[in-house]
């Protein structure tokens, strides 16, 4: 069956370090993969989209990689700050579809 896995355990890191979050998937052939940030009591906010033919995408302190062989995306936040503390969701869209499937998200806690 199709599955998207994000680490259910919170990731705790120290301010200034690089946070790396993982999104693994099985039995999907995604055309697009997105990352969103969600704060408590709020809707998700779009961060980055990466296409199947792209290996890496960057935006300011954020970097996303997409390895279709490993069936994995990594989301990096460099020089992390306490304000980066939130839940981060990955979402996959297969070709020909406009409906994303979301992972459950990973909570990131950046300690000052």
């Amino acid at each position: 069956s199709q599955k998207i896995e994000q680490n259910s355990e919170a990731l705790n890191i120290q301010e200034g370090k690089t946070a790396t979050l993982t999104c693994n998937y099985t039995n999907y052939s995604p055309a697009y993969l997105q990352w969103y940030r969600q704060d408590p009591g709020r809707g998700p906010v779009f961060l980055l989209l990466i296409r199947e033919n792209e290996k890496e995408k960057r935006k300011e302190r954020l970097k996303v990689t997409f390895d279709t062989t490993l069936k994995q995306s990594l989301f990096h936040i460099t020089a992390s700050q306490p304000a980066d503390s939130a839940t981060y969701l990955c979402a996959l869209v297969t070709g020909g579809s406009y409906i994303p499937t979301f992972g459950r998200g990973t909570s990131l806690i950046v300690h000052p």
Partner: protein, 114 residues
């Protein structure tokens, strides 16, 4: 500019009652999605509207759930004869174009069924 708005922000109802949840997408966005999010769960897709096309209802969990989108803008999600398992946060999102694009989410409606 104005983002996606949803109302009410919170709704408490009794089991068996009907509820209506409203979504106002960003003006000009042709695509509109409804999701629900239960505690500790990912976003569960419910229904997708794109322009004047027939909606994709493949995510609706039962025939108690329905949605409409009037004039290509405002959308209403209706849940009839609510059950306790319907308790969740219902999120609406809109996006600009017919191709896959970033989604802009509203703040959600927290539904509690007693």
């Amino acid at each position: 500019g104005a983002g996606v708005s949803q109302s009410p922000s919170n709704k408490v109802t009794e089991k068996g009652k009907d509820v209506e949840l409203r979504c106002d997408p960003i003006s000009g966005h042709t695509a509109l999605y409804w999701y629900r999010q239960s505690l500790g769960q990912g976003l569960e897709f419910l229904i997708y509207f794109q322009g004047n096309s027939a909606p994709d209802k493949s995510g609706l969990p039962s025939d108690r759930f329905s949605a409409e989108r009037t004039g290509g803008s405002v959308s209403t999600l209706t849940i009839q004869r609510t059950q306790q398992e319907d308790s969740a946060v219902y999120l609406c999102a809109s996006s600009r174009s017919t191709g896959f694009d970033e989604q802009f989410f509203g703040p959600g409606t927290r539904l509690t069924v007693l």
